[in-house]
Amino acid sequence: MPQTTIYASPRSVGAPQELPPAVATHELARLFGGNPALAGVTLSIPAGRCVQLVGPNGAGKTTLLRILATAIRPSFGSAAVDGLDVATHPELVRSRIAYLSHATGLYDDLTARENLAFAATMLGLDRSSSDQRIRNALDEIGLTEMATLRVRGFSAGMRRRLALGRVLLARPSLVLLDEPFAALDADGIQLMERLLDRWHRSGVTALVASHATEHIAARADATVELEGGVIARVSGEGVIARPPKREPTAGRVIEVAP
């Protein structure tokens, strides 16, 4: 268990806020087969911040994002998005978030446009607004000319862009991005950086897990460092974190009397 050091911005601690935080977790833990991937994360992120989530492989970054995205449930503790508990109001939470995961979630036998049209329907967009948004998204991600091609033939980078296009169809208050720069070329990286800036300007909260810190560091209001399923360090403004009440159980040797 590493030495836990928690920093929080003095400006933000205890500051009254009218709106609930965009992300609030309390003693959040998730076990996989008895092993804790998260082991007591207490974190509060105010709305409109861009927060970088860093840490080594297995630190719990993806698990934290997946819980906030309602893909998995917490084993212990709680997590809320805009004041809505992810376990008790998952459908309402889903209408407020956009999640870009490692996997693209695309259908290979559908074209790029069909994939986006399907996503638009699932997001509840009506026909007239979805057509326009799909055109804009395709234009933004640079796949307009490939819109009628089946995704099966796309490269990893093109698939990633298309998955990003699906994120653009939504109008989320919280964007959860898991390694968003993976598989992107220079243009794709610029596109991602542009989108992060736009979300920041328009008050959308972004929680970005990435090893490519050079692309986010300048944009992030705060950095949360996870290690071994707990928050090891927080730097920057606005984000509040507290150490877990109990030590995680991973790696602990339990001796049984004969």
């Binding site: 309602t70 893909a71 449930r73 209408s95 995961s101 996997a103 695309l106 036998d109 069909e114």
Partner: protein
Amino acid sequence: MTALRRNATIAWAIARKDAIAEVRGKQAAVSTLTFAAVVLLLFGFALGPDPRRLADAAPGLLWLGLVFAGLLGVGRFHELETEDGALEQLTLYPVDRRSIYAGKAAIGALAMLVLGALLVPLVAILFAVEIVRALPVLSLTVVLGAIGFAAVGTFYAGVTVRMRAREVMLPLLVLPIVAPLLLAAVKATSAALTGDPLGELPAWLELLAGFDVVMLIAGAGTYGFLLEE
């Protein structure tokens, strides 16, 4: 948009998406049809050349062919969701999960109907059965059977979609549950082909319809929990 209309739109989008993927990925559809035809032929060979015996067995063989090939179909429509995290993405949309079940069950039933439309004439040819007079009742039986099978198959395809051995587990779970449906469908088909001399056809059709309603309600009510990880 009312909740019902929204759910119907979602179900339609899922069924349409699966239909497009299935039609474009011709391999799976063609192999399912071929499998059903081979099953019928093999059963025919096993029963021998006696035309009376084959005609008597025709309703049972038709439904065994439909059920075996239908298992491939309902499994396939969930397998599409295992491509590159599609299932997780599907569960993260802000939709009522009953509409996902409805869409999957609808495309499963449609696939069974297409299969039925091809297998019924094939059975008629292979086993020398007169079907023209019985076609309306036969069609109704296939529709009711397809809906019930899709209701059960979709539910269990959801149970097994994250399993490694899903191709083995799906038949093991589905076949015992669809036994009453198979019995009712075979009896109804047999009654339809023989002119229903005992007047039992309405009872078997009612049983089929009741099975459909119960399984659809149970499937829609519980399917959402299966998608939780």
